[in-house]
Amino acid sequence: MKDKIVHSDTEAGSDVKDNSRRNFLKQSALITAVALTPGVAVKAAESHVDERIAEAFEKMPLKMEVNGVAKTLMVEPRATLLDILREQLDLTGTKKGCDHGQCGACTVHIDGHRVNSCLTLGIMVNGKKVTTIEGLAKGENLHPMQEAFLKHDGFQCGYCTPGQIMSAVACIREGHANSELEIREYMSGNICRCGAYPNIVNAIQEVKEGGMPV
Protein backbone atom coordinates (compact mmCIF):
# COMPACT_ATOMS: atom_id res chain seq x y z
CA MET A 1 0.00 0.00 0.00
CA LYS A 2 2.83 2.31 0.87
CA ASP A 3 4.41 2.00 -2.56
CA LYS A 4 1.17 2.80 -4.27
CA ILE A 5 0.80 5.96 -2.27
CA VAL A 6 4.25 7.20 -3.12
CA HIS A 7 3.59 7.03 -6.84
CA SER A 8 0.59 9.28 -6.88
CA ASP A 9 -0.26 10.66 -10.30
CA THR A 10 0.06 14.23 -9.09
CA GLU A 11 3.58 14.06 -7.77
CA ALA A 12 5.13 11.13 -9.61
CA GLY A 13 8.72 11.68 -10.59
CA SER A 14 12.24 11.22 -9.38
CA ASP A 15 13.21 9.45 -6.19
CA VAL A 16 14.32 12.76 -4.79
CA LYS A 17 10.86 14.14 -5.22
CA ASP A 18 9.25 11.04 -3.74
CA ASN A 19 11.37 11.36 -0.65
CA SER A 20 10.57 15.01 -0.17
CA ARG A 21 9.04 16.24 3.04
CA ARG A 22 5.89 17.18 1.17
CA ASN A 23 5.37 13.63 -0.04
CA PHE A 24 6.13 12.22 3.35
CA LEU A 25 3.49 14.45 4.88
CA LYS A 26 0.99 13.45 2.24
CA GLN A 27 1.65 9.78 2.92
CA SER A 28 1.20 10.26 6.64
CA ALA A 29 -1.98 12.16 6.02
CA LEU A 30 -3.35 9.45 3.77
CA ILE A 31 -2.60 6.71 6.26
CA THR A 32 -4.41 8.61 8.97
CA ALA A 33 -7.32 9.31 6.69
CA VAL A 34 -7.65 5.68 5.65
CA ALA A 35 -7.88 4.68 9.28
CA LEU A 36 -10.77 7.04 9.77
CA THR A 37 -12.68 6.69 6.52
CA PRO A 38 -15.46 4.22 5.70
CA GLY A 39 -14.84 0.94 3.96
CA VAL A 40 -15.67 2.20 0.49
CA ALA A 41 -12.96 4.82 0.67
CA VAL A 42 -10.41 2.39 2.05
CA LYS A 43 -11.15 0.10 -0.85
CA ALA A 44 -10.80 3.01 -3.26
CA ALA A 45 -7.52 4.05 -1.70
CA GLU A 46 -6.15 0.52 -1.85
CA SER A 47 -7.22 -0.11 -5.40
CA HIS A 48 -6.29 3.31 -6.65
CA VAL A 49 -3.35 5.50 -5.83
CA ASP A 50 -4.98 8.88 -6.00
CA GLU A 51 -4.37 10.77 -2.79
CA ARG A 52 -7.12 13.15 -3.73
CA ILE A 53 -9.58 10.54 -2.47
CA ALA A 54 -8.06 10.86 0.95
CA GLU A 55 -8.04 14.61 0.73
CA ALA A 56 -11.77 14.63 0.06
CA PHE A 57 -12.31 13.05 3.45
CA GLU A 58 -9.80 15.21 5.29
CA LYS A 59 -10.75 18.64 4.12
CA MET A 60 -13.46 20.91 5.37
CA PRO A 61 -15.15 23.87 3.69
CA LEU A 62 -13.97 27.34 4.71
CA LYS A 63 -15.73 30.52 3.71
CA MET A 64 -14.08 33.82 4.51
CA GLU A 65 -13.65 37.26 3.05
CA VAL A 66 -10.07 38.11 2.17
CA ASN A 67 -9.28 41.73 1.29
CA GLY A 68 -12.92 42.30 0.42
CA VAL A 69 -13.28 39.22 -1.81
CA ALA A 70 -15.39 36.24 -0.72
CA LYS A 71 -13.41 33.00 -0.80
CA THR A 72 -14.64 29.44 -0.58
CA LEU A 73 -11.96 26.84 0.01
CA MET A 74 -11.43 23.30 1.18
CA VAL A 75 -8.86 23.18 3.97
CA GLU A 76 -7.37 20.66 6.36
CA PRO A 77 -8.35 21.53 9.94
CA ARG A 78 -4.67 21.67 10.85
CA ALA A 79 -3.85 24.28 8.19
CA THR A 80 -3.03 27.66 9.68
CA LEU A 81 -4.49 30.84 8.24
CA LEU A 82 -0.91 31.81 7.31
CA ASP A 83 -0.38 28.68 5.21
CA ILE A 84 -3.80 29.00 3.58
CA LEU A 85 -3.13 32.63 2.62
CA ARG A 86 0.29 31.82 1.20
CA GLU A 87 -0.17 28.35 -0.29
CA GLN A 88 -3.80 28.29 -1.38
CA LEU A 89 -4.55 31.94 -2.10
CA ASP A 90 -1.07 32.96 -3.31
CA LEU A 91 -1.10 35.94 -0.98
CA THR A 92 2.58 35.71 -0.14
CA GLY A 93 2.83 39.23 1.29
CA THR A 94 2.10 37.79 4.72
CA LYS A 95 5.39 36.29 5.86
CA LYS A 96 6.28 33.15 7.76
CA GLY A 97 9.02 34.09 10.22
CA CYS A 98 9.18 31.93 13.32
CA ASP A 99 5.82 30.15 12.73
CA HIS A 100 5.34 30.08 16.53
CA GLY A 101 3.83 33.46 17.39
CA GLN A 102 7.11 35.00 18.49
CA CYS A 103 8.04 37.38 15.65
CA GLY A 104 4.87 38.98 14.27
CA ALA A 105 5.86 38.66 10.57
CA CYS A 106 2.55 36.87 9.95
CA THR A 107 0.35 39.63 11.43
CA VAL A 108 -3.00 40.10 9.65
CA HIS A 109 -6.31 41.62 10.69
CA ILE A 110 -9.32 39.41 11.42
CA ASP A 111 -12.55 41.41 11.66
CA GLY A 112 -10.34 44.47 12.13
CA HIS A 113 -8.16 43.09 14.94
CA ARG A 114 -4.50 42.22 14.49
CA VAL A 115 -3.57 38.58 15.17
CA ASN A 116 -0.74 36.13 14.46
CA SER A 117 -1.96 34.14 11.46
CA CYS A 118 0.61 31.39 12.17
CA LEU A 119 -1.23 30.41 15.38
CA THR A 120 -4.70 30.77 13.86
CA LEU A 121 -6.34 27.64 12.48
CA GLY A 122 -7.89 28.59 9.16
CA ILE A 123 -11.06 26.65 9.85
CA MET A 124 -11.71 28.88 12.87
CA VAL A 125 -11.78 31.97 10.64
CA ASN A 126 -14.93 30.67 8.91
CA GLY A 127 -17.36 33.54 8.27
CA LYS A 128 -14.85 36.25 9.16
CA LYS A 129 -13.12 39.07 7.29
CA VAL A 130 -9.36 38.90 6.81
CA THR A 131 -7.17 41.81 5.72
CA THR A 132 -3.59 41.17 4.62
CA ILE A 133 -0.87 43.57 3.49
CA GLU A 134 -2.21 43.14 -0.08
CA GLY A 135 -5.53 44.61 1.05
CA LEU A 136 -4.22 47.92 2.40
CA ALA A 137 -3.51 49.83 -0.82
CA LYS A 138 -6.38 51.24 -2.84
CA GLY A 139 -5.48 50.40 -6.42
CA GLU A 140 -2.23 52.18 -7.23
CA ASN A 141 -2.45 54.35 -4.12
CA LEU A 142 -0.45 53.02 -1.22
CA HIS A 143 -1.88 53.14 2.28
CA PRO A 144 -0.53 56.13 4.29
CA MET A 145 1.40 53.69 6.51
CA GLN A 146 3.05 52.11 3.48
CA GLU A 147 4.03 55.58 2.23
CA ALA A 148 5.41 56.49 5.64
CA PHE A 149 7.50 53.30 5.85
CA LEU A 150 9.02 54.16 2.45
CA LYS A 151 9.69 57.77 3.44
CA HIS A 152 11.29 56.89 6.79
CA ASP A 153 13.20 53.78 5.67
CA GLY A 154 11.17 51.66 8.05
CA PHE A 155 12.94 48.52 6.85
CA GLN A 156 16.16 47.10 5.52
CA CYS A 157 15.70 43.50 4.37
CA GLY A 158 11.92 43.96 4.35
CA TYR A 159 10.94 40.51 5.61
CA CYS A 160 9.19 41.74 8.75
CA THR A 161 7.69 44.78 6.98
CA PRO A 162 4.23 43.43 6.03
CA GLY A 163 3.70 42.35 9.64
CA GLN A 164 5.09 45.65 10.94
CA ILE A 165 2.74 47.66 8.71
CA MET A 166 -0.34 45.58 9.62
CA SER A 167 0.55 45.98 13.28
CA ALA A 168 1.29 49.70 12.88
CA VAL A 169 -2.11 50.36 11.31
CA ALA A 170 -3.81 48.46 14.15
CA CYS A 171 -1.67 50.29 16.71
CA ILE A 172 -3.10 53.65 15.56
CA ARG A 173 -6.66 52.33 15.21
CA GLU A 174 -6.52 50.94 18.76
CA GLY A 175 -5.40 54.33 20.08
CA HIS A 176 -2.00 53.07 21.23
CA ALA A 177 0.24 55.42 19.24
CA ASN A 178 0.22 58.47 21.50
CA SER A 179 3.92 58.57 22.36
CA GLU A 180 7.17 56.93 21.31
CA LEU A 181 7.10 54.83 24.47
CA GLU A 182 3.55 53.66 23.84
CA ILE A 183 4.29 52.87 20.18
CA ARG A 184 7.35 50.83 21.19
CA GLU A 185 5.31 48.88 23.77
CA TYR A 186 2.40 48.22 21.39
CA MET A 187 4.71 47.28 18.51
CA SER A 188 6.71 44.84 20.65
CA GLY A 189 5.02 41.84 19.03
CA ASN A 190 6.84 42.59 15.77
CA ILE A 191 10.53 41.78 15.75
CA CYS A 192 12.91 43.41 13.23
CA ARG A 193 16.28 41.70 13.06
CA CYS A 194 17.72 44.56 10.96
CA GLY A 195 16.89 46.90 13.83
CA ALA A 196 14.84 49.44 11.89
CA TYR A 197 12.87 50.26 15.03
CA PRO A 198 13.64 54.03 15.26
CA ASN A 199 12.51 54.51 11.66
CA ILE A 200 9.40 52.36 12.18
CA VAL A 201 8.47 54.50 15.20
CA ASN A 202 9.02 57.66 13.12
CA ALA A 203 6.77 56.34 10.36
CA ILE A 204 3.99 55.52 12.81
CA GLN A 205 4.29 58.89 14.54
CA GLU A 206 4.05 60.72 11.23
CA VAL A 207 0.90 58.88 10.21
CA LYS A 208 -0.61 59.36 13.65
CA GLU A 209 0.22 63.08 13.76
CA GLY A 210 -0.85 63.61 10.17
CA GLY A 211 -4.33 62.57 11.22
CA MET A 212 -4.91 60.68 7.97
CA PRO A 213 -7.58 58.01 8.17
CA VAL A 214 -6.00 54.59 8.60
Binding site: S28, A29, T32, A33, L36, E58, M60, E76, P77, R78, T80, D99, H100, G101, G104, T107, H113, R114, V115, N116, L119, T120, L121, I123, M124, S167, A170, C171, E174, H176, R184, E185, Y186, S188, G189, N190
Partner: protein
Protein backbone atom coordinates in the same frame (compact mmCIF):
# COMPACT_ATOMS: atom_id res chain seq x y z
CA UNK B 1 1.20 18.80 12.93
CA UNK B 2 -0.73 15.56 13.31
CA UNK B 3 -4.08 15.49 11.57
CA UNK B 4 -7.07 15.89 13.89
CA UNK B 5 -10.82 16.08 13.74
CA UNK B 6 -12.28 19.57 14.20
CA UNK B 7 -15.59 19.91 15.99
CA UNK B 8 -17.50 23.06 16.82
CA UNK B 9 -19.36 23.05 20.11
CA UNK B 10 -22.85 24.51 19.70
CA UNK B 11 -23.61 24.42 23.42
CA UNK B 12 -21.71 24.37 26.69
CA UNK B 13 -23.21 20.95 27.41
CA UNK B 14 -21.98 19.68 24.05
CA UNK B 15 -18.46 20.86 24.83
CA UNK B 16 -18.50 19.18 28.25
CA UNK B 17 -19.64 15.88 26.75
CA UNK B 18 -17.00 16.08 24.03
CA UNK B 19 -14.01 16.77 26.30
CA UNK B 20 -14.68 13.72 28.43
CA UNK B 21 -13.52 11.51 25.55
CA UNK B 22 -9.84 10.51 25.31
CA UNK B 23 -7.59 12.45 22.95
CA UNK B 24 -9.89 15.45 22.91
CA UNK B 25 -8.88 19.01 23.68
CA UNK B 26 -10.71 22.31 23.84
CA UNK B 27 -9.51 25.12 21.60
CA UNK B 28 -10.30 28.81 22.03
CA UNK B 29 -7.58 31.37 21.22
CA UNK B 30 -5.16 28.58 20.34
CA UNK B 31 -2.07 30.70 21.04
CA UNK B 32 -0.56 28.06 23.31
CA UNK B 33 -2.24 24.88 22.04
CA UNK B 34 -1.50 25.36 18.31
CA UNK B 35 2.13 26.11 19.15
CA UNK B 36 2.39 22.93 21.25
CA UNK B 37 0.73 20.90 18.49
CA UNK B 38 3.16 22.25 15.88
CA UNK B 39 6.06 21.16 18.07
CA UNK B 40 4.59 17.72 18.74
CA UNK B 41 4.41 18.33 22.48
CA UNK B 42 0.73 17.51 22.32
CA UNK B 43 -1.14 15.70 19.56
CA UNK B 44 -4.91 15.54 20.15
CA UNK B 45 -7.17 13.43 17.91
CA UNK B 46 -10.02 15.89 18.26
CA UNK B 47 -10.25 19.62 18.84
CA UNK B 48 -13.46 21.11 20.15
CA UNK B 49 -13.81 24.78 19.19
CA UNK B 50 -15.73 26.61 21.92
CA UNK B 51 -15.29 30.16 20.57
CA UNK B 52 -18.97 30.38 19.61
CA UNK B 53 -20.25 29.81 23.15
CA UNK B 54 -21.72 32.87 24.91
CA UNK B 55 -18.96 33.18 27.53
CA UNK B 56 -17.47 36.57 26.64
CA UNK B 57 -19.34 38.87 29.02
CA UNK B 58 -17.74 41.13 31.60
CA UNK B 59 -20.20 42.38 34.22
CA UNK B 60 -20.41 43.69 37.77
CA UNK B 61 -22.24 41.40 40.17
CA UNK B 62 -23.53 42.14 43.69
CA UNK B 63 -20.23 41.07 45.22
CA UNK B 64 -17.64 41.53 42.52
CA UNK B 65 -16.77 41.32 38.87
CA UNK B 66 -17.60 38.41 36.56
CA UNK B 67 -15.43 37.79 33.51
CA UNK B 68 -16.44 35.15 30.95
CA UNK B 69 -13.91 32.47 30.06
CA UNK B 70 -13.91 33.51 26.39
CA UNK B 71 -13.31 37.21 27.01
CA UNK B 72 -10.13 38.12 25.17
CA UNK B 73 -7.06 39.19 27.13
CA UNK B 74 -7.03 42.50 25.20
CA UNK B 75 -10.74 43.14 25.84
CA UNK B 76 -10.42 42.47 29.57
CA UNK B 77 -7.31 44.64 29.93
CA UNK B 78 -9.10 47.64 28.39
CA UNK B 79 -12.57 47.08 29.85
CA UNK B 80 -13.81 50.09 31.83
CA UNK B 81 -15.09 48.03 34.75
CA UNK B 82 -11.85 46.08 35.02
CA UNK B 83 -9.67 49.19 34.82
CA UNK B 84 -11.77 50.99 37.46
CA UNK B 85 -12.40 48.13 39.89
CA UNK B 86 -9.45 45.79 39.35
CA UNK B 87 -6.59 47.75 37.74
CA UNK B 88 -4.10 45.15 38.96
CA UNK B 89 -5.64 42.60 36.60
CA UNK B 90 -5.49 45.06 33.69
CA UNK B 91 -1.81 45.78 34.44
CA UNK B 92 -0.95 42.08 34.65
CA UNK B 93 -2.70 41.34 31.34
CA UNK B 94 -0.96 44.19 29.54
CA UNK B 95 2.40 42.90 30.79
CA UNK B 96 1.78 39.56 29.05
CA UNK B 97 2.51 38.47 25.47
CA UNK B 98 2.07 40.91 22.54
CA UNK B 99 -0.94 42.94 21.35
CA UNK B 100 -1.58 40.36 18.60
CA UNK B 101 -1.53 37.43 21.02
CA UNK B 102 -3.71 39.29 23.54
CA UNK B 103 -6.24 39.78 20.72
CA UNK B 104 -6.47 35.98 20.38
CA UNK B 105 -5.89 34.60 23.88
CA UNK B 106 -8.85 34.10 26.23
CA UNK B 107 -9.15 34.20 30.00
CA UNK B 108 -9.89 30.47 30.15
CA UNK B 109 -6.96 29.66 27.87
CA UNK B 110 -4.63 31.83 29.95
CA UNK B 111 -5.64 29.84 33.06
CA UNK B 112 -4.78 26.65 31.15
CA UNK B 113 -1.49 27.97 29.75
CA UNK B 114 1.29 25.42 30.02
CA UNK B 115 4.84 26.04 31.17
CA UNK B 116 7.38 27.53 28.77
CA UNK B 117 10.20 25.37 30.17
CA UNK B 118 12.45 24.69 27.18
CA UNK B 119 12.83 21.03 28.20
CA UNK B 120 9.04 20.64 28.11
CA UNK B 121 8.99 22.13 24.59
CA UNK B 122 11.96 20.12 23.25
CA UNK B 123 10.61 16.65 22.47
CA UNK B 124 14.14 15.21 22.25
CA UNK B 125 14.73 15.98 25.94
CA UNK B 126 13.44 14.15 29.00
CA UNK B 127 10.51 15.84 30.73
CA UNK B 128 8.25 14.43 33.43
CA UNK B 129 5.56 16.95 32.55
CA UNK B 130 5.43 16.00 28.86
CA UNK B 131 6.21 12.29 29.33
CA UNK B 132 5.88 11.15 32.95
CA UNK B 133 8.78 8.99 34.10
CA UNK B 134 11.37 10.23 31.60
CA UNK B 135 13.13 12.54 34.06
CA UNK B 136 13.68 16.28 34.29
CA UNK B 137 16.03 17.91 31.81
CA UNK B 138 15.99 21.22 33.63
CA UNK B 139 17.13 19.92 37.02
CA UNK B 140 20.74 19.50 35.84
CA UNK B 141 20.31 21.64 32.74
CA UNK B 142 20.11 25.34 31.93
CA UNK B 143 17.58 26.24 34.62
CA UNK B 144 17.82 30.02 34.57
CA UNK B 145 14.06 30.52 34.11
CA UNK B 146 13.03 27.94 36.68
CA UNK B 147 11.35 27.71 40.07
CA UNK B 148 12.69 28.79 43.45
CA UNK B 149 9.55 27.82 45.38
CA UNK B 150 7.49 24.63 45.60
CA UNK B 151 9.44 22.56 43.08
CA UNK B 152 9.75 18.77 43.32
CA UNK B 153 12.49 16.32 42.29
CA UNK B 154 10.27 15.59 39.27
CA UNK B 155 9.78 19.13 37.97
CA UNK B 156 11.15 22.65 38.48
CA UNK B 157 9.10 24.38 35.76
CA UNK B 158 7.21 27.62 36.37
CA UNK B 159 3.76 28.79 35.38
CA UNK B 160 4.28 31.47 32.70
CA UNK B 161 1.07 33.49 33.14
CA UNK B 162 0.92 37.13 34.22
CA UNK B 163 -2.88 37.22 34.35
CA UNK B 164 -2.94 34.37 36.87
CA UNK B 165 -0.53 36.21 39.18
CA UNK B 166 -2.90 39.18 39.18
CA UNK B 167 -5.90 36.91 39.77
CA UNK B 168 -4.07 35.16 42.63
CA UNK B 169 -3.43 38.45 44.43
CA UNK B 170 -7.08 39.44 43.92
CA UNK B 171 -8.56 36.25 45.46
CA UNK B 172 -10.29 35.37 42.19
CA UNK B 173 -12.53 32.32 41.90
CA UNK B 174 -12.50 30.09 38.82
CA UNK B 175 -15.98 28.94 37.83
CA UNK B 176 -16.07 25.59 36.05
CA UNK B 177 -18.93 23.53 34.63
CA UNK B 178 -18.99 19.75 34.37
CA UNK B 179 -21.45 16.91 34.03
CA UNK B 180 -22.45 17.27 37.66
CA UNK B 181 -22.99 21.02 37.39
CA UNK B 182 -20.98 24.07 38.33
CA UNK B 183 -18.12 24.31 40.82
CA UNK B 184 -16.21 27.31 42.16
CA UNK B 185 -12.46 26.87 42.68
CA UNK B 186 -10.46 29.57 44.50
CA UNK B 187 -7.57 30.56 42.20
CA UNK B 188 -5.04 29.50 44.79
CA UNK B 189 -6.46 25.96 44.65
CA UNK B 190 -6.82 25.88 40.87
CA UNK B 191 -3.19 25.39 39.85
CA UNK B 192 -1.14 22.75 41.61
CA UNK B 193 2.48 22.19 42.59
CA UNK B 194 4.33 19.49 40.62
CA UNK B 195 4.85 16.96 43.45
CA UNK B 196 4.84 13.47 41.92
CA UNK B 197 2.52 14.43 39.06
CA UNK B 198 4.03 17.34 37.13
CA UNK B 199 1.94 16.29 34.10
CA UNK B 200 -1.02 17.84 35.92
CA UNK B 201 -0.99 21.64 35.92
CA UNK B 202 -4.26 22.15 37.77
CA UNK B 203 -7.20 20.57 39.56
CA UNK B 204 -9.67 20.80 36.68
CA UNK B 205 -11.45 17.47 36.18
CA UNK B 206 -11.43 15.84 32.74
CA UNK B 207 -15.06 16.64 32.07
CA UNK B 208 -14.89 20.23 33.31
CA UNK B 209 -14.87 23.41 31.28
CA UNK B 210 -13.83 26.82 32.63
CA UNK B 211 -16.77 29.17 32.09
CA UNK B 212 -15.52 32.28 33.89
CA UNK B 213 -13.74 33.94 36.77
CA UNK B 214 -15.09 36.12 39.53
CA UNK B 215 -13.12 38.73 41.45
CA UNK B 216 -14.61 39.85 44.76
CA UNK B 217 -14.85 43.61 45.32
CA UNK B 218 -11.93 45.03 47.29
CA UNK B 219 -10.24 48.28 48.30
CA UNK B 220 -6.99 47.71 46.40
CA UNK B 221 -7.78 49.72 43.24
CA UNK B 222 -6.00 52.91 44.37
CA UNK B 223 -2.84 51.12 45.51
CA UNK B 224 -2.13 48.38 42.99
CA UNK B 225 0.95 47.60 40.97
CA UNK B 226 2.18 44.82 38.70
CA UNK B 227 5.94 44.68 38.29
CA UNK B 228 7.40 42.37 35.66
CA UNK B 229 11.15 41.88 35.37
CA UNK B 230 12.29 40.30 32.12
CA UNK B 231 15.22 40.06 29.73
CA UNK B 232 13.83 42.79 27.47
CA UNK B 233 11.46 45.65 28.11
CA UNK B 234 8.43 44.04 26.53
CA UNK B 235 7.16 40.75 25.07
CA UNK B 236 9.14 38.27 27.16
CA UNK B 237 8.26 35.86 29.94
CA UNK B 238 8.91 36.97 33.50
CA UNK B 239 12.12 36.20 35.31
CA UNK B 240 10.20 37.42 38.33
CA UNK B 241 6.93 39.32 38.55
CA UNK B 242 5.06 40.74 41.54
CA UNK B 243 1.39 41.65 41.88
CA UNK B 244 0.78 43.97 44.82
CA UNK B 245 -2.51 45.31 46.12
CA UNK B 246 -2.71 47.44 49.25
CA UNK B 247 -5.64 48.82 51.21
CA UNK B 248 -4.08 51.88 52.87
CA UNK B 249 -5.78 54.22 55.32
CA UNK B 250 -3.85 57.27 56.50
CA UNK B 251 -0.49 55.70 55.79
CA UNK B 252 -1.35 52.43 57.53
CA UNK B 253 -1.84 49.21 55.61
CA UNK B 254 -5.18 47.66 56.49
CA UNK B 255 -4.76 44.69 54.17
CA UNK B 256 -2.13 43.57 51.68
CA UNK B 257 -2.25 41.15 48.76
CA UNK B 258 0.93 39.84 47.18
CA UNK B 259 1.62 37.20 44.55
CA UNK B 260 4.68 36.35 42.48
CA UNK B 261 5.13 34.96 38.98
CA UNK B 262 8.13 33.23 37.41
CA UNK B 263 9.07 31.56 40.69
CA UNK B 264 6.84 28.47 41.03
CA UNK B 265 4.69 25.88 39.27
CA UNK B 266 1.69 28.05 40.20
CA UNK B 267 1.10 31.72 40.92
CA UNK B 268 2.90 32.08 44.25
CA UNK B 269 0.83 33.86 46.87
CA UNK B 270 2.82 35.48 49.71
CA UNK B 271 0.45 34.89 52.64
CA UNK B 272 3.00 35.35 55.42
CA UNK B 273 4.29 38.64 54.02
CA UNK B 274 0.69 39.87 53.70
CA UNK B 275 0.03 39.02 57.37
CA UNK B 276 3.18 40.87 58.40
CA UNK B 277 2.15 44.04 56.53
CA UNK B 278 -1.40 44.19 57.89
CA UNK B 279 -1.70 47.02 60.42
CA UNK B 280 1.79 48.40 59.75
CA UNK B 281 2.81 51.74 58.21
CA UNK B 282 3.48 51.66 54.45
CA UNK B 283 7.23 52.18 54.70
CA UNK B 284 10.23 50.89 52.78
CA UNK B 285 11.56 49.30 55.97
CA UNK B 286 8.39 47.27 56.41
CA UNK B 287 8.40 46.32 52.73
CA UNK B 288 11.95 45.00 53.08
CA UNK B 289 11.00 42.91 56.08
CA UNK B 290 7.94 41.58 54.24
CA UNK B 291 10.19 40.60 51.31
CA UNK B 292 12.54 38.70 53.62
CA UNK B 293 9.58 36.83 55.10
CA UNK B 294 8.33 36.04 51.59
CA UNK B 295 11.67 34.50 50.63
CA UNK B 296 11.74 31.94 53.43
CA UNK B 297 12.03 28.46 51.99
CA UNK B 298 13.31 29.61 48.60
CA UNK B 299 15.70 27.20 46.88
CA UNK B 300 17.75 28.01 43.78
CA UNK B 301 19.36 25.76 41.17
CA UNK B 302 22.62 26.19 39.27
CA UNK B 303 21.60 29.03 36.96
CA UNK B 304 18.74 30.78 38.75
CA UNK B 305 20.30 31.81 42.07
CA UNK B 306 20.01 35.44 40.89
CA UNK B 307 16.28 35.09 41.58
CA UNK B 308 17.03 34.86 45.32
CA UNK B 309 18.09 38.52 45.15
CA UNK B 310 15.85 39.66 42.30
CA UNK B 311 12.63 38.37 43.89
CA UNK B 312 12.83 40.25 47.23
CA UNK B 313 14.04 43.40 45.46
CA UNK B 314 11.06 43.13 43.12
CA UNK B 315 8.65 42.71 46.03
CA UNK B 316 9.97 45.90 47.65
CA UNK B 317 9.84 47.78 44.35
CA UNK B 318 6.26 46.67 43.61
CA UNK B 319 5.12 47.64 47.12
CA UNK B 320 6.77 51.05 46.81
CA UNK B 321 4.94 51.66 43.53
CA UNK B 322 1.63 50.37 44.91
CA UNK B 323 1.84 52.55 48.03
CA UNK B 324 2.91 55.65 46.14
CA UNK B 325 6.40 55.80 47.69
CA UNK B 326 7.85 55.90 44.17
Amino acid sequence: MKQFQYLKAATQQGAIEAINKPGTKIIAGGTNLVDLMKRGVTAPDKLVDITHLPLKNIAATKTGLHIGALALNSTVSENGLVVAKQPLLAMALKAGASPQLRNMATVGGNLMQRTRCTYFYDTTMPCNKREPGTGCGAMEGYNRMHAIFGASPQCIAVNPSDMCVGLAALDAVVIVAGKKGERRIPINEFHRLPDDHPELDNHLAKDELIIGVEIPDNNFAKNSYYLKVRDRQSYAFALVSVAAGLDINGGTIRQARLAMGGVAHKPWRLFEAEKFLAGKPASEENFKQAAQIAMQGAKAYQYNSFKLKLAPASIVEALKHASGLV
